[in-house]
């Protein structure tokens, strides 16, 4: 058999670089930085410069004031209830949508995005119209001593509504890509439903679940619109941190307002750091197929 000929005379031509000209690169990178400075670094810096504008003592006083502490407590309580509820709901919804076939599945999947699509104000109004004291259901609840609108339960329900897609949306693509093979294998090996969930499904989705939980928590802390409608803004009772910031601001108490706002900024930054650390871990672990 003849050997294939390998030509030695023409080494392959290597182009110096296949990319856009330098001017375009400089322009695009410059624009990106300009945008970041104008819309992120500058406002963030402003929050802190305003917050500390009158010194440490004023700052500390603003965040140690009783109403501020009550607002922080209420926000933490809301997060502590909303995140577990949405975690359970999110896992259940993702499980149902990815592992079973049932009528209305695709509709349900698209409806999952509704809380993101609808304005938070409307989300709040929905609950006022549903369980407000002038509605039949609301007045029935009132007779039994349960108050939802203008009190803590309303705030929690509105926050649940606004944040429920985070976890489910994080898990659905993940679980879809993993398929049901491992669950079926566990089934043929004799495992029961709960055993399969704890030993097979949950370990496979744990990073996605944590990731969704963090996003859900961050949004619950910061939610303003929907909570604003149902809360009634009662200081020390139904004021969450974002609402407290708004009240202080409208009273021209700028320093205190920015001081409390800086707490939210701290939390947001923390979320971003935790999230990106986890993303790295997530990517590394997703090679475990």
């Amino acid at each position: 058999m003849p050997q294939p000929e390998i030509s030695q005379s023409h080494p392959p031509v290597v182009k110096k670089r296949i990319s856009d000209p330098l001017s375009v690169q400089v322009l695009l990178v410059g624009l990106t930085y300009l945008f970041f400075i104008g819309f992120i670094f500058l406002p963030l810096g402003l929050v802190f410069s305003q917050a500390f504008g009158k010194g440490w003592s004023v700052y500390l006083e603003a965040i140690r004031e009783p109403y501020a502490i009550e607002a922080v407590k209420l926000t933490l309580l809301t997060v502590a209830i909303v995140v577990p509820v949405n975690a359970v709901f999110g896992v259940a919804a993702a499980w149902a949508i990815t592992k079973f076939n049932f009528p209305g599945k695709s509709t349900l999947k698209s409806l999952l995005d509704l809380p993101f699509a609808v304005s938070p104000v409307i989300a709040g109004l929905i609950f006022v119209l549903l369980v407000g004291s002038r509605t039949p259901f609301g007045s029935w609840l009132g007779e039994h001593g349960i108050k939802i609108i203008f009190s803590t339960p309303g705030i929690i329900i509105a926050t649940i509504f606004v944040t429920f897609p985070f976890i489910a949306r994080e898990l659905i693509p993940l679980m879809e890509s993993q398929g049901r093979d491992e669950e079926e294998a566990a089934l043929t090996l004799g495992a029961k439903g709960w055993q399969i969930f704890w030993t097979v499904t949950l370990p496979n989705i744990r990073w996605g679940l944590l990731y969704g939980t963090i996003l859900c928590g961050a949004r619950s802390i910061g939610e303003f619109g929907a909570v604003s409608v149902v809360s009634g803004h009662i200081r020390g009772q139904t004021n969450t941190v974002p609402l407290h910031v708004e009240i202080l601001y409208s009273e021209y108490n700028f320093t205190a307002s920015f001081a409390v706002a800086s707490l939210l900024v701290f939390l947001a930054l923390l979320t971003v750091v935790v999230k990106s650390t986890m993303e790295k871990h997530f990517q590394k672990n997703s090679f475990h197929h």
Binding site: A185, L187, T188, L189, G190, A191, K192, H288, H289
Partner: protein
């Protein structure tokens, strides 16, 4: 009886996956379900395992009616096409899984589990990989771990869904022989699904050929290969030349040529026919040995390992025919592209009727 399937039906919407299928498998046998993709063989396997429910019919495993039992009570070992190992568990934990999920009263002690897993991993030659994760193993190694995991629960029957399809050719062949040896040692009634006729012929005690949810033929590899029941089976088991023609007064037309019809079709007056010839049942020579020989020209030469594949254009035939000759003959006859040859058809199978494939 190891496995008895009685009148199984399964429909997905309009599509009939399993069509009133009955099958008996003796204890300890290794059976191949062979058929093209979409023929229902995987569905049948999943029905036996309880992962799908049959619309009607009855399933008996080791004489016990398991038709309506949930999968975890059927006690079958299932090896998935893509292994489905638990990716977050080590090899040891994977194999121990079936024992650890047993109800407390039936669960073996920790040391018993350790011994059993060690024994099984030794059986599949994976005892060196106890603490590895599935992602750290090759395809063939994962397959063997999956097998050990399925065997851990002492299954009544072992079901394997296209067990070698995701492996490369060399590993596939090794694992095939190894599985046959393993089965001879442990004798658990086993069914494997495949679309690869070579795999079925080499590995199985019995082959069940399935098409469109029905059994076309069942028997030992020898029986099925040498005496195919119909045109579908003949065509599916290996390469084949097909000639469409007519059978008329004891003669079969083969393009412009005529052949004597087989004895059982001698008395057929006039019918459409299909004549099948395997490539290795065609003789090639440079001189005419017989007045029935066809005259042709080699159009294409293909190297197929020990055999050489020839594409020959014959006078009087519409389509070229495929032949296979041993390498030695190829060299001795000095065959090459464009060479004139005489073609002797040694053995034909004739099926009448318009059997669509």
């Amino acid at each position: 009886m190891g496995i008895e399937l009685q009148n199984i039906n399964k429909q997905f919407g309009e599509y009939k996956a399993i069509d009133n299928l009955s099958l008996n498998i003796a204890s300890g046998e290794l059976i191949a379900l062979l058929g093209p993709s979409g023929c229902g063989k995987t569905t049948l396997l999943r029905i036996i395992a309880g992962l799908e429910l049959a619309d009607s019919g009855k399933i008996l495993l080791e004489n016990k009616d398991t038709t309506n039992l949930p999968p975890r009570k059927k006690n079958v070992g299932f090896v998935f096409q893509h292994y489905a190992l638990f990716r977050r568990l080590t090899v040891f934990e994977n194999v121990a899984f079936g024992l650890k999920v047993l109800p407390f009263r039936e669960r073996p002690s920790r040391s018993e589990i350790r011994d059993r897993v060690a024994h099984l991993l030794k059986l599949v030659q994976m005892d060196w990989a106890l603490t590895r994760y599935p992602s750290q193993l090759s395809g063939g190694q994962r397959q063997r771990v999956a097998l050990a995991r399925a065997l851990a629960v002492n299954p009544r029957v072992l079901l394997l869904d296209e067990p070698f399809s995701a492996l490369d050719a060399k590993v596939r062949q090794e694992l095939r022989r190894w599985l046959r040896k393993l089965h001879d040692e442990i004798h658990v009634t086993s069914i494997f699904v495949t679309h690869d006729q070579e795999e079925a012929l080499e590995l199985a005690d019995k082959i069940v050929v399935i098409n469109k949810g029905r059994i076309e033929q069942q028997g030992t590899p020898q029986e099925v290969y040498d005496h195919p029941a119909n045109a579908f089976v003949y065509n599916f088991l290996g390469n084949v030349n097909v000639f469409h023609g007519r059978i008329h007064n004891g003669k079969v037309s083969l393009g412009a040529h005529q052949l004597d019809a087989p004895d059982d079709l001698k008395n057929v007056e006039e019918k459409p026919s299909q004549t099948f010839v395997r490539p290795h049942e065609i003789g090639i020579s440079r001189i005419r040995s017989n007045d029935k020989d066809l005259e042709g020209t080699i159009r294409e030469v293909r190297l197929q390992g020990g055999q050489i594949g020839l594409n020959i254009e014959c006078q009087g035939l519409d389509n070229p025919i495929e032949a296979e000759v041993p390498r030695e003959l190829f060299v001795n006859l000095q065959l090459a592209k464009g060479v004139q040859v005489f073609v002797t058809i040694n053995r034909v199978r004739v099926f009448t009727g318009d059997y669509e494939i």
